[in-house]
């Protein structure tokens, strides 16, 4: 029960639940799926995971870059990548999907389906339980009478007016929903076969083409404000999968002394300029565990806004450790940007773990269960006790007795 209580990683400040009233004339609030930040009025997007939004201080700011350091097998980072794109579909944003290994159309087909009714008991607040009870009895409410006149909870796609949605990993998004949004693709093998090789600014050809493609979309679709007469503004969500891997033509992941260590950092710098001048947000997954030269990862971190690292327990000795039996891995938030302000909304908890239970992916404070066994010792001390037992085999009885003494 304690784990459930601390689940959801609610920050002690409660900054995300408070919403300042924005004046009606403010054009910022007019874009679907965004909300202004409490602290600095910056537009925030949801990353697709409400618990990640809490950790990041309310959401991902428009014009910034979210960098995910992939876990060892890329399973959970791929999931976060999909959540980001799925959120864009539900909110009606435009998508730009770039990948070097999977066709973007296939990526989109596998996005998780949104959950429109709240099955996650933690996140249901009183309003909705009252409305549920109202559905059962149409007559006037006797206890929750204050909620009598509130509208019923929407179960249709109009629920996308809410910030942050839940997704069902076991189901894929419906093709109708996919058809309703506008998306752009960049599949590296396809692009490379169409155009001849060029090298601009000493950057890897794949990166150059990707930057040109992104810039073209931003300019043509007017995300940089080049069509002021367009009344309905929209956000472009850019997703780039496994940047820096060998498939992009970059050798930083496979060589100790790569030929060109500046391609990735130059790419990120130019991308930063593109994001800052347009209504867009970008998620990039990087196979950081493969990059041997740690200096590159330090520079990449400095050039990104939000950096989150995933560490999954698959294949490590922590997988069988009873302490971590509820979780699938740890999350490290390496960096949160300070935009338009001297301070940022940092969550107080630094030990975060994630779990994928049945349909939902949540990020929670790492909660070590209390050790209620007879021997007051963790698994590591257990081994020490075992080895002393073997050594003092002569006085075996005394050794067993000593195990219970913990000075």
């Amino acid at each position: 029960m304690a784990a459930l209580a601390t689940g959801g990683a609610t920050p002690s400040d409660g900054a995300t639940s408070f919403q300042r009233k924005v004046p009606a004339s403010s054009r910022l609030a007019a874009i679907a799926g965004t909300r202004p930040s409490v602290r600095h009025g910056q537009l925030l997007l949801s990353s697709g995971l409400p618990s990640l939004d809490c950790v990041l201080g309310g959401g991902l700011a428009v014009g910034t870059l979210l960098l995910i350091e992939e876990d060892k097998y890329g399973i959970y980072s791929n999931l976060l990548f999909k959540y980001f794109l799925a959120e864009g579909i539900v909110c009606g944003h435009n998508l730009f999907v770039a990948s070097a290994k999977e066709d973007p159309a296939d990526i989109l087909k596998e996005l998780p389906a949104p959950l429109f009714d709240d099955v996650h008991k933690n996140q249901v607040d009183e309003k909705e339980t009252a409305i549920k009870s109202k559905q059962e009895s149409q007559e006037s409410l006797k206890i929750a009478w204050r909620y009598q006149n509130l509208p019923k909870m929407e179960v249709s796609p109009a629920a996308s007016a809410r910030f942050g949605h839940y997704y069902d990993v076991s189901k894929t998004v419906s093709p109708e929903l996919l058809k309703s949004i506008k998306w752009h693709r960049f599949f590296l093998p396809e692009v490379m076969s169409l155009h001849p090789e060029i090298k601009t600014c000493n950057m890897t050809c794949g990166y150059t083409r990707l930057l040109q493609s992104i810039q073209r979309i931003i300019y043509q679709e007017g995300f940089d404000g080049s069509y002021p007469q367009k009344k309905q503004k929209n956000i472009l969500r850019i997703g780039i999968q496994s940047l820096g891997s060998v498939l992009w033509g970059d050798d930083i992941c496979c060589a100790d002394n790569p030929e060109d260590i500046y391609s990735l950092t130059k790419f990120l710098y130019v991308l930063r300029g593109l994001l800052r001048m347009s209504l867009s947000a970008c998620i990039i997954t990087v196979p950081a565990h493969l990059i041997q030269n740690k200096a590159i990862m330090e520079r990449v971190t400095n050039l990104s806004d939000t950096v989150v690292g995933l560490e999954s327990f698959i294949g490590s000795e922590r997988e069988t450790n009873p302490l971590y039996k509820d979780y699938q891995g740890l999350i490290h938030v390496h960096q949160i940007p300070r935009l338009n302000s001297l301070i940022c909304d940092v969550s107080g908890t630094k030990d975060l773990a994630f779990r994928l239970k049945r349909k939902l992916f949540t990020i929670e404070r790492l909660h070590l269960p209390p050790d209620l066994s007879d021997t007051v010792s963790r698994s590591s001390k257990q081994d020490l006790a075992e080895s002393t037992k073997l050594l003092s085999s002569g006085c075996g009885a005394m050794a067993i007795g000593k195990k219970h003494l913990d000075f």
């Binding site: 600095h40 000493n202 950092t265 130019v270 200096a295 520079r299 400095n302 001297l342 940092v346």
Partner: protein, 266 residues
């Protein structure tokens, strides 16, 4: 500008020092609050400022400067501030058409093979050169994040050359000041960055080193600031003055206190 930091440094906007190189360095934390401090300090002091902002957009600095009581747009209009927005210039270099003759982009080195920062130096020099109608006090060069230049393919030697040229032009010829921010890390594997940081530490007159607490994250104390003032006279070989304070960043101000004397503890 932060009033408490002015008191600690014994600096006042009425009489800014001249000919100094100040190094801002941060480790495991974000030291950009120091950049905002010096930007508003020198603008309030009436100095002509050339700000090379490589990492953030103009509006970011403008919004924070307004909280500190200075308007960057107004300063730009009256010619007191020359703002180089690195992100925009790089965009022009990368996506723009061929430059006309005579119009060189300060970030031209991004597209070239070499790592020549000459165009950037020329930009700094021409913007800080005193023109006849100016009535500003000493010129100031402010660089936000020298470490970004390394990410763009510039060799450490060229970065140090650039700083050297700027020191000659700004500090000794024009009797101005230079303030530079670098990132560093004790266990960093970025040797080129550490080379630049060490070299600048030796050259600078004042070092402000913002470090994150070794014990980890704390809500009331955001970090520790080391102020290292080099001996004023090189001939007398005076000892460096080292002072350590802890700080807490608030929305419009930063409070400094002696170590362990945080308001939350007392």
């Amino acid at each position: 500008m932060f009033v408490e930091l002015n008191e600690l440094l014994n600096a006042s906007p009425e009489r800014p020092e001249q000919g100094k190189l100040t190094l801002l360095r941060d480790t495991k934390t974000d030291g950009s609050f120091l950049v905002h401090h010096f930007l508003s300090f020198y603008l309030k002091a009436g100095c002509k400022v050339c700000f090379v902002a490589l990492l953030q957009s103009f509006s970011h600095y403008n919004i924070i400067a307004q909280k500190l009581g200075v308007s960057l747009t107004a300063a730009k209009e009256r010619g007191q501030l020359v703002f180089l927005e690195g992100l925009k210039s790089c965009f022009d270099v990368f996506f723009g058409e061929e430059q006309h003759v005579g119009q060189t982009n300060p970030l031209q080195f991004v597209s070239e093979d070499g790592s020549n920062l000459k165009t950037m130096y020329e930009f700094v020099r021409t913007s800080l050169m005193a023109s006849g109608s100016d009535s500003w006090k000493c010129p100031v060069l402010l660089v936000d994040d020298l470490s970004v230049l390394l990410s763009l393919g510039v060799r450490p030697v060229d970065v140090l050359d650039f700083i050297h040229y700027c020191r000659v032009a700004v500090c000794s010829q024009l009797k101005g000041n230079i303030v530079v921010l670098v990132h560093s890390n004790d266990d960093s594997e970025d040797e080129e960055n550490e080379l630049i940081v060490n070299s600048l530490c030796h050259q600078s007159n004042l070092i402000l080193w913002a470090e994150g607490l070794t014990t980890g994250f704390c809500k009331d104390v955001h970090g520790q600031l080391k102020i290292i003032q080099k001996g004023s006279s090189e001939l007398k070989a005076e000892k460096n003055l080292l002072r350590i304070y802890q700080y807490k960043i608030q929305d419009k101000n930063v409070t400094f206190f002696a170590r362990g004397m945080s308001a939350a503890v007392l």
